[in-house]
Symmetry: D2
Subunit: 359 residues, 4 copies
């Protein structure tokens, strides 16, 4: 039983390898009647695309999504929506030199052990190229959530040791895409960009944190006991390549707070019940409470280095892995689009799931 | 569509409210032929049980699990295993005074909004009492994993600001249950215990961190792209009441490392391929690589305080919530058993899932 | 991966063996706010119960369902509903004489082969006793469907060679329970009853057909391409013990009709679009069209005979199986309640599934 | 929640409309290491293809499947296998004249009611064109089952009133494809072919029965209580367009047999436990017993006629539907490939499901 299916009601199945002929996704469960703007899908894909700036990989992919089904006269029909992105750059390189070697901190070893053989070209299915399909599907999920006023955005809040000194509610989303890093504070972004370039020059890589924010989430999304909204958001984020951690609301910092400080006091504001603080991160008992949802996603440094590394081959013999090719020195600028997509997919799923809540 | 079902191959469905007649779980998918020791189930339940020490809630529950099906002549038959725990303490208290009030940072408000009404007695289904069923099922999952040499243990590594100064590979699991906190360093445990008592005396509560460790995990568990082993571990942990964050391997700290330092170099040790460091936390590309798996789970301070708090009722009118009853000042000592159970459930599920990997 | 879970949105998991301590079911996904009448559950169970008439097994079971969770103040809360039925008759008999024998056309051989060992007491999990849990859950599904005006009933339309000479739309459901056979024509019922008694006297058994009817089904239930409404009804019925076939609408007889005769012509009736004939059986393209749904379910003769039969033991050696105990000579009188329950479960599931159809 | 996903371990998701740009399928869960022969996929598609003989629709589609992912160096990698079939004939016709009309016994009315709008071009998703994707996936499932010696074949056993006078065990599969009808008796096939042509000349259509046979099925497939092997086979067949009924083993005819005749007596043959008769149809208690599995699938007459029919439009006004285009007078010759594909998909799924049965 493989794990390339995500979601219960708004369900997606993705496919495709880094250097196969195509990657793609089918959405089974998008309600009928949703207006689809192909440009919206492309806009999100462009934010994840290689080659978009000088601090990301220069692999050449236009990442154009073709719609194969499910949309008629501009609207979803309630039947499966299939999106395909043909790989353009898949034959440009000879990967035979690493076919029997295990790159450190990649999935080469584990795929080989699990499946008995593997597509060694650029990591095959384990490549983050797979996430383009998620972004395409996420764009449709986002459209669905926009119909009920829900907005999802994400931004880079940390690169290596450099951290953004602003809280989620202080962010103006308009600032995010004004720089290549996707940090919504232009001064911090500039520092981060310089840092990334320095690291790259050293042939090295560095990690980062992406913060996600959901505004206007309907009250009542999330299905206890296991499918709590933050549990599904966490799984979604942790399933993104290179992700090492997830926290929401007060997160790990909340551990050292007292309950009397951490508790979010309810009050009536303009006839609606709100909380004064929001350490809950918009989710209580696993269910959205109408306040902003915010969460942080940790990404490790990219495993592919532009320097030589020691490793072993399939027989366990010591080998050198040469650093070459076109790789990201830091994933977070491109990961922003993926985090948004996965958040939108979780929301769309729970939005439909919640339709069964009450008689 | 509710979310009380967990797992795909080793699947559980739990039920029960804090003050209903019983809580329980059915396991659908445990392989036939597994020897079941009812004492093992009880042993795990006792570690989660109220009243087990003077730093946890004194609610009176013996938490005895009765096996209703699925086991014959001491072994699983391959049919569903049903475990029920009758509630003994469910009628001892009048909850009508909070029936229409929303306790801060509890699920009262969200359940009411989502379902239209709610079982207000002790939180009903949103109570952490629900996790006893998980622990019972987890004991059977643990037995299954023991047959392939996999051991799961967890311990308290932080209470409030107090942190344990040892890394996962330095822990001797024998030390964990030697104190009421379940911190495997006795001196740190004593400090933590004193601190918890101080906080309780103030009528307040505090958070903590539980670290989980899995030793002897078979290579190859975890199903990319979405059902990565750490993604399912993350979801499992985040689904536990009061959980605010999850990280594995280098986690959030890995963000500020360079790739050249973070990468785990492969080498051959006694004929087997191992990694020198283990920032990957035993999982690469979402698949176990045979090294120790370790992860950290953040728990917020308990929302129920022994002091009066301001809140609102269902109409939004301001009310006072009086602190009374028997509650935990800090959840982590009891959460240890829940973290272990959820980890065992994820492993058992992926152990069976992986059987379909290769022809 | 076991198969004791049914439904996607209105999901049930059943457990229990014929001679274990209890059987039961948990429903995960029943919407909140549904009024539950415990008498309604018992009423359906009583129609499936052993000992209810002199043409069914005389095993002694009161089949009383206890509600363990999910209902508060008379209404569903949206949390799992657990129903347990304790077995009363489980220790009355020694089954060791058949522990290593394979009864003909029972599941003894296949369970043994599949699971390595088996609960041989009265068939264990393979016993039709398991269906009591379905009936209990079905009663709640039926209540849910009644809120939208959908009625489900079933009746015996054939016993052995004796067939009821009435079409589904000619049936008055009030007539069904007026006789022990549950055939809605009293004269035919009397013939069937006499025939069943004759067969029983010979120590033999006979098969039958149950016809199911659904009136007032909302238009639009059923999810193409695979989860067509009739496909899920078919699976539900085929999963009942002893079922050998399922057909709906014109069924197998429709094969020899011409399209020009078989096609159901649309017309407007009192402002609503209806069909003149109903060979479609209320389902077109897998989706309910608002007309009556009707289907037929074939049950084979009961495998347990009151006469001696030749068989083999686990080593393949020839043995005699002696006929004894308390068994049904024909399952259909009791199967009526099971067919209704499974139909209600499918409808409740698709009723909730369909909530995601349109924006 | 849509229903375009089938299977649990060997899981497929299909997409595509009759006149959209493509139809296709993704398989999530095929084990790694399976040799894939693209010709085998094409061979099965050709047997379902339009235009293959003069008694089927003359729509022009080469139905060539392109493999987009999941196969590397001729073998499956354990990652999703995506197969796409581009539609070639999709723009040849103007469907606007039926855009607001409901064709009798088609899915036009129910799709419109369910989804609010529909793709009216050739039936859109409700067209049997969708089944080409199933056949492509089925070819891979068949390859998987061949590795354990399981063979699946199907044949036409009835067209209208004309029935094949041979039992499943008397069939030589080599005879099936020797005629356009796919009836394995050449004389009966000739009669059926003549009859189909007569019916077509009248502008009419007729139904038929396809019999499926599975030889060499491993003992132990099928997961009680709900996912019995025959229940999943039944659902699979009933989900095929135009299917009205399913029976296996003795089926509806078994109803009128006595238990003493119907029971299959076990005996030891060449050291293996077999049954003398096979009224069980190779499945007992929902689990395969190693004997041949056989079943019958009823298909109604094609709804599209080459004569004028009365119907209504969306407002309920009476309209005439003119018969034109290229349609099958009888679906069974092409349905043979679909029945085989669905059977293979069920077997592959249960083959993997059963891997979790025993410790």
């Amino acid at each position: 039983m493989a794990g390339n299916t995500f979601g219960k009601c708004f369900k997606i199945m993705t496919y495709g390898e880094s250097h196969g002929s195509a990657i793609g996704v089918t959405i089974d469960g998008c309600p009928a009647g949703l207006l689809i703007d192909a440009n919206g899908i492309q806009h999100d894909l462009d934010r994840r695309r290689p080659g978009q700036s000088n601090i990301v990989t220069q692999r050449k992919e236009s990442d154009t999504a073709e719609i194969l089904s499910g949309i008629f006269e501009g609207k979803t029909t309630g039947t499966p929506i299939s999106l395909v992105i043909y790989n353009e750059d898949q034959k440009s390189k000879d990967y035979s030199h690493i076919a029997d070697k295990y790159r450190p901190s990649h999935a080469d070893f584990t795929y080989q052990q699990k499946f008995g053989h593997r597509d060694y070209r650029g990591g095959g299915r384990s490549s983050a190229r797979e996430t383009a399909a998620r972004v395409a599907a996420g764009a449709i999920a986002r459209s669905l959530m926009k119909t009920v006023g829900t907005e999802v955005f994400a931004y880079v809040s940390q690169v290596g040791h450099l951290t953004l000194d602003k809280l989620p509610h202080q962010i103006d989303p308009v600032e995010i895409d004004k720089n290549a890093v996707r940090c919504p504070d232009q001064a911090t972004a500039a520092e981060m960009e310089t840092f990334i370039k320095t690291v790259r020059k050293e042939g090295d890589t560095v990690g980062g944190v992406v913060t996600g924010v959901i505004k206007g989430c309907p009250v009542g999304l999330g299905a206890p006991a296991f499918d709590k909204l933050h549990a599904d958001l966490g799984k979604a984020m942790l399933s993104i390549n290179a992700c090492k951690g997830f926290e929401y609301g007060s997160g790990f910092a909340g551990v050292s707070m007292r309950g009397s400080v951490h508790n979010d006091v309810f009050k009536k504001v303009h006839g609606q019940i709100k909380t004064e603080s929001n350490h809950s991160g918009g989710i209580q008992g696993g269910i959205s409470n109408g306040m902003d949802i915010y969460f942080r996603v940790a990404f490790k440094p990219v495993a592919t280095l532009m320097k030589s590394q020691t490793s072993v081959d399939q027989t366990g013999e010591a080998v050198q892995i040469e650093g070459k090719g076109r790789h990201d020195p830091c994933v977070v600028p491109r990961a922003v689009a993926i985090v948004e997509a996965m958040a939108a997919l979780v929301l769309a799923d729970h939005f439909l799931i919640a339709r069964g809540d009450i008689l």
